[in-house]
Symmetry: C2
DNA sequence: GTAATCCATTAGCACTCCTAATCATATTGG
DNA sequence: CCAATATGATTAGGAGTGCTAATGGATTAC
């Protein structure tokens, strides 16, 4: 298979991803005013365990100051809490609160439901195609970020 | 096929799209400082023909004031031009300039190349799967936006 | 010809994002 | 053991996107 195919996939990705992002952002805004995709990614990471601030900045590919500001915003809303690490007092642990968990659940549920409705028009074959395609897509990008995270942190 | 599959696809989409968006944003920033995904979408639309400001706002699902501001930013960079419509003087036509065309080409080429590299690790079967999946994905969301654009413009 | 409508802009606010500079805490080397 | 260096978070300052509400023209409808 010629590499032209891969170029074509890139072009298509570049077209489609921002489109989907817009739909998702609009959905989120609608389901909980003031919430942004970044907040949901953040809360999604914190759902399973606490992380340090720098760790979160790396994960989301933003600078430390940006993460600090964003955390302050979510802290004011009562969705996350800061806690100084006791063993290394330079570190700050960020943990999700009950309210944060609730906000995350609500937005995820609303957006997921809306997406599911969009997908209900698909026939089974197309649905299967989409599912496999997404898996490939995730693997490609997840591998890229893991193998060379620094590339995306500057 | 049970609807659970479609719910699973939604969940996966919600996970993956922001990840890809981050990679793409980082790429764009790197290839041309100050440029944002929204700019590229905008210039991409203007590449083929001029649009009115309100038209662009609808297409990108942002409010008219937001679009007006963004156009002003791009105008200052010399990437687009404003022109009052002569037949209906309420309208403003936005057109891409040579410099805008060049900026668009540069960023698209850089980001596409980077994506293509990421994809070069894929075997042919996975590449084909991805290509089909993206087509389905685009159709789902494009249909949604066309059929009910108002839903995403508030 | 006045009222209603439509399109773009301005004003003002919240937020993300950046870099550079600062502060506190740990670690390392002489 | 203490000074220099490194590390993690924050503050300051600036650019940008996004919103709603209000304003100003231009057009259409009655």
């Amino acid at each position: 298979m010629p590499n032209t195919i891969r170029r074509e996939i890139s072009r298509r990705t570049l077209d489609i991803i921002p489109l989907i992002m817009r739909v998702m952002s609009a959905e989120m805004r609608q389901s909980l005013p003031g919430v942004q995709p970044g907040h949901i990614s953040l809360l999604g990471i914190l759902r399973y365990r606490a992380h340090t601030l720098g760790d979160l900045a790396d994960r989301l590919s933003v600078s430390a100051p940006t993460m600090s500001n964003t955390i302050s915003t979510l802290e004011e809303r009562g969705w996350v809490g800061r806690r100084r690490a006791e063993d290394d007092r330079r570190l700050v642990w960020i943990e999700i609160t009950e309210a944060g968990q609730a906000a995350l659940d609500k937005v995820e549920d609303n957006v997921e439901t809306r997406l599911t409705n969009l997908l209900s028009d698909l026939n089974d074959h197309d649905a299967a195609t989409l599912a496999s395609g997404l898996t490939v897509l995730r693997d490609v990008f997840a591998t890229a970020l893991e193998s060379d995270p620094k590339l995306y942190n500057e």
